[in-house]
Assembly symmetry: C2
Homo-oligomer: 513 residues x 2
């Protein structure tokens, strides 16, 4: 839109800027930016449209979701959200970035993985690292005492991405939490019921939900002679028991300074797993039940398992003393759902890691976190669960690939077509009627498309029905309704078209696997 003379003048000025920056030995990024501007200006005198010289990619560790991936994502979120709503949850949203200080001292060593925004004047900001800290900030800031909310949003971690295994720098978290001063284990039991409902509905295969309690673990560490200041280290070692043999875990604990005797005693406890019977057995263990933390944890565990029985999820739940969970802020029950996978899935390994087997949801009680944000330290007990939706996407994608399933990227029911030229306006009248009747409908954006191409489009996109109009139909005041799959056609009165189509709409699943 600028004339050549004006552009040449711009190029001259921009060249001056670049030369000056180079002379001043300005930082490379700045120079590169100005050079890019110069090249873009120069390109304007060349052919239109201007081809850019830059790299066409998404940032490291991130990806676009294409329509097929989005169809899977939508189906998963739909199932998850329906469950949350069945349990009366509302939802909130928070900004993608927080004040830097809100995130400071919340993630220990992992703080180095936080994305900071550039200082462009004003506040220092960071991208959110999880949804729990923003939730606690929201609660404290608005002085909220009770809430049952879910939050589905992307979080950001400058981790080493392993994209083939579904580990990204930008990824979804999907959290459900119940906050408020309530009676023991009633909200906790509902969280576990929710995990069970979601995993059952998603049909990902068999799963088990492991439960434990931080107080039971701390009680065990205490009675086994582990010093107070080594509890978290012992906890972190025990947490690896799902991946490492006991001997390796023991070695780690010895290295952290625990005695051989302590380790062996801890080992005898944390390798136990069972149900209500095991809780009763530990409750009658006089060493443990003298420890206040262990007693409180075991008493609650008994109540929890009884409630879970009423919620009909006992067959999915296992009290597993090796479950420790990574995060520091848990104060009571903790849980983790594991996909058991089948033999096929176990064979399907990507670079040594199994796809479709492993932790798929986790959570627990954290009664102190909100208080740590509140100006007066006012605490709000919370229990919550996080559904591993990214893992779920990967599993479903892998299943579709394995089964060579098709994914629809829209849910169009009817395609309006004509084998004759000159019917674009007639097709528009018809599709207008369909849209008015809330029928999902498409037609070609070409004026005179070939019939073959129109039918191929239906087959490829999985559109089940076509309305066909040509001069014969137009004269008779009819249309043909064609079933794309069977190629059967029948002629119906134009006035009955909408009713006929509405009766024939069906819910084709967005993908099969």
């Amino acid at each position: 839109t600028m004339d050549c003379g004006a552009i040449k003048e711009e190029i001259r000025k921009q060249g001056e800027i670049v030369r000056q920056l180079k002379a001043e030995k300005c930082d490379k990024q700045k120079i590169d930016e100005e050079v890019a501007k110069l090249l873009a200006l120069k390109a304007q005198i060349g052919t239109e449209p201007v081809a850019q010289k830059f790299t066409l990619k998404t940032p490291k560790g991130t990806r676009d979701y294409d329509p097929k991936q989005m169809a899977i994502r939508e189906t998963v979120f739909d199932t998850v959200v329906r469950c949350f709503k069945r349990h009366g949850a509302s939802t909130i949203d928070t900004p993608v970035f927080e004040l830097k200080e809100t995130l400071t001292n919340k993630y220990g060593e992992d703080s180095k993985l936080i994305y900071d925004l550039k200082d462009q004047g004003g506040e220092m900001l960071s991208l959110r690292y999880d949804l729990t800290v923003p939730f606690a900030r929201y609660m404290a800031m608005n002085n909220i005492q009770t809430i049952k909310r879910y939050h589905i949003a992307k979080v950001y971690r400058r981790d080493n991405p392993a994209m083939t295994r579904g580990r990204y720098r930008e990824f979804y978290q999907c959290d459900f939490d119940i906050a408020g001063h309530y009676d023991p284990m009633i909200p906790d039991a509902e969280c576990l019921r929710i995990v069970s409902e979601i995993l059952s509905e998603l049909k990902l295969g068999d799963f088990v939900i492991k439960v434990n309690d931080r107080r039971i673990l701390d009680g065990i560490f205490a009675v086994c002679g582990c010093p107070d200041d080594k509890f978290r280290q012992a906890c972190s070692a025990v947490d690896k028991l799902d991946k490492l043999p006991w001997s390796d875990v023991k070695a780690e604990m010895l290295e952290k300074g625990l005695t051989e005797e302590s380790c062996d005693k801890i080992g005898s406890y944390v390798q136990m797993a069972g149900g209500l019977q095991l809780v009763e057995k530990l409750l009658s263990n006089e060493e443990l039940n003298q420890n206040k933390l262990a007693l409180a944890g075991l008493t609650d565990m008994k109540v929890l398992l009884q409630y879970l029985d009423l919620f009909q999820v006992t067959n999915r739940v296992q009290f597993d003393l090796s479950l420790a969970r990574g995060l520091d802020y848990y104060t009571g029950p903790i849980f983790e759902a594991i996909l058991l996978g089948n033999q096929d899935a176990n064979k399907e390994r990507v670079k040594g890691e199994t796809v479709g087997v492993g932790s798929i949801a986790g959570g627990g009680r954290y009664d102190g976190l909100v208080g740590s944000f509140h100006p007066k330290g006012k605490s709000v007990p919370c229990v919550g669960v996080s559904i591993g939706v990214e893992r779920i996407f990967s599993i479903i994608e892998a299943n579709i690939k394995k089964e060579k399933g098709k994914t629809r990227t829209n849910d169009t029911q009817v395609f309006v077509a004509s084998p004759q030229k000159g019917f674009v306006e007639e097709k528009m009248k018809i599709i207008n009627e369909l849209w008015n009747a809330n029928i999902k409908a498409e037609m070609s954006y070409k004026k005179n498309p070939k019939m073959l191409n129109q039918m191929q489009h239906c087959e490829e996109s999985g559109i089940p029905l076509a309305v066909i109009v040509a001069s014969g139909e137009l004269d008779a005041g009819t249309v043909k309704i064609r079933s794309v799959g069977s190629r059967e056609e029948r002629t119906v009165d134009r006035s009955k078209m909408v009713d006929e189509l509405k009766g024939n709409q069906n819910n084709i699943p967005m993908f099969s696997c």
Copy 2:
């Protein structure tokens, strides 16, 4: 969880770090961070939980969405997405940040409003400024020739926020675009039909969709003697005609160096508005129809208006020669939907700006943008529309406030209650049956809540039905079903409870206004 001795040792070490940084005159941000860590450690020896000293707020120009705002947001998105799907659109998603160079030279002067990420090693990144550039990048990167997609996501602009008027630094965009080499005006007409469907369904009041064509404007500028290199400046002046009187617009054009004669001639054109008749009149204007651009634009406008008539939106559409649109990349038809508001709404002014009146959707054809990203400059013609969802949220929120309407934050149908103590397990059995039957149900998280509190909760949350159980019902194998609104109760067999409730579920709107 650490003992006092260990914390004191940590404090000593952290104090050392701070002293050293200060001695080295390190940058203030770094020192502040380490001081914050030190204070946090010191606070740990104080009372538990630790009250933090930092500001509890969201970053400047951003906000949390609370459950009521989310209920409105969901309802709006639901209407918008249902419409997009009715037209066969799929959806994509892109990362929240892009390589900085992807955004360079795309936004002219507004580039200064782009949020950059801090250089933490690796690529230089920026938060997305809109959804159109990421879409064009996605298309070029994947060499996509045709797509009909929508994208709803947040974008980021370091603008001066005006939050009382609904202008934020983090806000939603909601874009629908049709890309591909098609016949003129068929996708364009569908975009306008979509705007009309969405605004009608949202019931925001009367609206008009103004349409114009960049080629018609450029043709007018040319025949009025405006120099080529002043087209965009003239365009930007004309764009203000909806807010300023012609005299002010003319003054701006004179200032940009247009002649008095040019200005007056442009003025006589751009103040015209009408329908198909006006197009015909201009097509027979020998001055205009000699200009290739104007002729092409007017010819397409005629086709577009004819198609819009078949799509039954003519009464909503006005061909308005003053519509110019801000963005540089439009190459053909442009459009903008304006809420007309009613007299009441016109009176309702917030700081001089009307709420509920003004531009609510806009878009147009941009045939060159994708090509500017493609390594070989391969172009993909696009036409799209952006729905102003943030404005729509504000209008609905204002309406609810005005009408003193209530907003539900969940859609719970049944509350399970008991007037007696000791019924938590019985209530759990009942609610478990309801969840199994996919009925949205809640109960108190207290073991023995007061009946009054339970019923109050139902009234406040708008839960329509309660299932009540006490010893009488338990013995008789029945439950009471109570209508919360009318307080009517009836006793039904426990075995018929689910069927009774399913028959009585109703869709209560999430808000009324």
